[in-house]
């Protein structure tokens, strides 16, 4: 099974469904999808150098939320939007990732935060699936 993401219906916010074989790849795909939402278009090829990103959280749901909120923070404070990620290490409480993306002229303020609402990382026959609601 590969990785995939799709937008699901939500009246006011953005609900993202992500599928991947592992937790690390799930986070990577969610990060890619977030970049696309922030840019409002299919991301071009990454132009920035690779950078390392480390996240810690008490459990894997929180790990995914923390990861996405870190990307939102970087976009707003450094104007860096990640579009390409590689998992270096991942367990339920830590995520080590490297990413590259692009520096944009305007900090993308479209996405305010990733939320816990309705979040559940669950098993599928071929890996994991998660729905994440972003406040936009």
């Amino acid at each position: 099974m590969g990785v995939s993401s799709e937008l699901l219906s939500h009246t006011a916010e953005v609900r993202l469904r992500v599928r991947a074989p592992s937790l690390g790849e799930l986070a990577a795909e969610a990060g890619r999808a977030l970049g696309q939402i922030q840019l409002g278009t299919t991301p071009p090829v990454a132009s920035s150098p690779w950078r390392d990103l480390e996240i810690r959280a008490p459990d894997r749901d929180a790990l995914l939320v923390e990861w996405l909120n870190e990307l939102i923070f970087l976009a707003e404070t450094e104007r860096w939007v990640g579009v390409d990620f590689e998992v270096l290490a991942c367990d339920d409480m830590t995520l080590s990732m490297r990413g590259r993306g692009m520096v944009v002229d305007e900090p993308p303020s479209r996405v305010k935060a990733a939320t816990f609402h309705g979040l559940k990382i669950g098993p599928t026959p071929a890996g994991l699936e998660a729905d994440v609601v972003f406040d936009v």
């Binding site: 937008l7 219906s9 939500h10 009246t11 006011a12 916010e13 953005v14 409002g40 008490p58 749901d61 929180a62 923390e66 909120n69 939102i72 923070f73 707003e76 404070t77 002229d105 305007e106 900090p107 303020s109 479209r110 305010k112 935060a113 939320t115 816990f116 609402h117 309705g118 979040l119 609601v133 406040d135 936009v136």
Partner: protein
């Protein structure tokens, strides 16, 4: 409470009893007519409202306003009153855009005086008031200055000559919450907000130039200084990245301490702690600081708008603030002699003439309540009522409420068509993103007339005047 119970079979009140789910601590109550109730029932907002009814210390009802729709944690248009003594405070019940709100300014200009220059005016407004941080108009702050904005809000701007006594008198809480604790705002939140004072943000934030096209209560309109044909400016925005990060920080903190307080909830986004606990007090201090930032943001934007109007129209373009009201807040309020922490998420205060927080100059009418429609439809000015305290802990709705998801709205009509239709209706549009224009199109929202009629007929607030858009700057 007696009034509300007497109205429990009213056609505009829909109750969900505590028997609906075992974990409810109070019933849920939605103000809606049959059509709005049907719309509300289509998404997950009722389930979210029932979740709110499980919060420890909640009293009366979990309230849903007529514009209610699906959010996260709380529904948008959700109100909960939690006992300050033994109830909780929930960052998710306030939302990420702390003190997102609306302010209305009014001029003596007529629409005819403004209309010939509308395109030019909207272009200048969009240039002077950026949506983000990359262009001019924003106020860059040193660390010390940011501390003062967080601690004092509009009072600090008055010292800098960007606000006056009249502005503060007609801003909720005078634009300055004294319980603000700047030290509870993280460095990450400061980093997000430092360059954002004076910016609109994106999503449903906007600045509209409007005209008063109907007066529905002459006496109360006169109290607010509104008269048919006068040009107004409506500003909708909040605490920008600073507020977003405060909420993110404290949802994380509350999530980690809930077990300590033996709190178990059906939705992790409702994460909370007792209001009186160290964590609850720290969040409250940070939230008040973010609220002060939001009021200062709207005041800064109003200053820019006043500058532009003066350049275009001279002294005739002077803009007087009618009122500034918050949408996303937790406020300490006394209702029926009980001290409550009232959470309003996408809802607004609607205090009546007798309430001590209604500005003295509005005691004959009540606190102004604004219900913006969407681009292309009317917005309304209403007046809060004294009976709203018993009906809805002094609350009314904050807008028309979304009916269509952003994705669905874009499928209905592309942004360039929305722009063409608005311009054909005589509404000048300044919005860089066609996609966001489509997401905020009039058909994406509920019928504002219907929503306002429910608010009026249920007695939450009384209709005063209707505003029609002449031009819109989209964030």
């Amino acid at each position: 409470m007696t009034v509300a119970q007497d109205l429990s079979h009213d056609r505009l009140i829909h109750d969900i009893p505590m028997t609906a789910r075992a974990d409810m601590r109070v019933p849920a109550r939605v103000f809606a007519d049959d059509e709005l109730w049907a719309q509300i029932s289509r998404d997950r907002s009722l389930e979210q409202l029932v979740n709110v009814a499980t919060l420890p210390g909640i009293t009366r009802f979990a309230y849903g306003m007529p514009d209610m729709h699906e959010g996260y944690g709380f529904p948008v248009g959700g109100v909960a009153a939690l006992r300050a003594a033994d109830g909780v405070i929930s960052p998710g019940g306030v939302g990420y855009d702390i003190n997102c709100g609306v302010r209305l300014l009014v001029s003596d200009l007529s629409a005819d005086a403004v209309r010939p220059r509308m395109q030019e005016l909207m272009h200048e407004l969009s240039r002077s008031i950026p949506s983000g941080t990359g262009r001019g108009g924003r106020l860059s702050l040193s660390e010390a200055e940011l501390d003062r904005v967080l601690g004092e809000g509009c009072r600090y701007l008055m010292e800098r000559g960007m606000a006056d006594v009249d502005d503060l008198e007609v801003t909720e809480a005078n634009g300055s919450l004294t319980r603000a604790d700047p030290s509870a705002v993280s460095q990450r939140a400061r980093a997000r907000g430092r360059d954002q004072l004076g910016t609109l943000g994106s999503g449903n934030h906007f600045l509209e130039v409007e005209v008063v096209d109907d007066v529905l209560d002459e006496e109360m309109a006169a109290v607010y200084g509104l008269a048919r044909g006068r040009v107004t400016v409506l500003i909708h925005c909040g605490s920008r990245g600073l507020g977003h990060q405060v909420c993110t920080d404290y949802v994380r903190l509350m999530d980690q301490v809930m077990a300590k307080y033996d709190i178990h909830l059906p939705d992790r986004e409702l994460a909370c702690a007792p209001f009186a606990s160290p964590e609850g007090q720290r969040y409250f201090g940070a939230m008040c600081a973010a609220a002060n930032f939001a009021w200062a943001n709207r005041q800064t934007i109003a200053t820019r708008v006043r500058d532009v109007f003066h350049r275009f129209f001279g002294d005739a373009g002077a803009l007087r603030l009618v009122y500034d009201v918050a949408h996303n807040m937790a406020k300490l309020e006394e209702h029926d002699g009980e001290l409550l922490c009232v959470h309003r998420k996408g809802a607004t205060r609607a205090f009546g003439p007798k309430h001590p927080e209604t500005p003295p100059r509005y005691r004959a009418a009540g606190q102004p309540v604004f219900i913006p429609g969407s681009m292309g439809t009317a917005s309304y000015v209403l007046a809060g009522t004294d009976q709203a305290s018993a009906l809805s802990v002094g609350s009314a709705c904050h807008g028309a409420g979304r009916a269509l998801s952003r994705h669905a709205a874009k499928r209905v009509k592309p942004g360039h068509e929305v722009r063409r239709e608005l311009e054909a209706a005589g509404i000048a549009v300044a919005c860089l993103s066609s996609g966001e224009l489509a997401e905020e199109a009039p058909f994406a929202y509920k019928d504002v007339e219907r929503v306002v009629n429910v608010v009026h007929e249920a007695g939450l607030a009384r209709k005063v005047a209707r505003l029609r858009p002449l031009g819109v700057v989209k964030g």
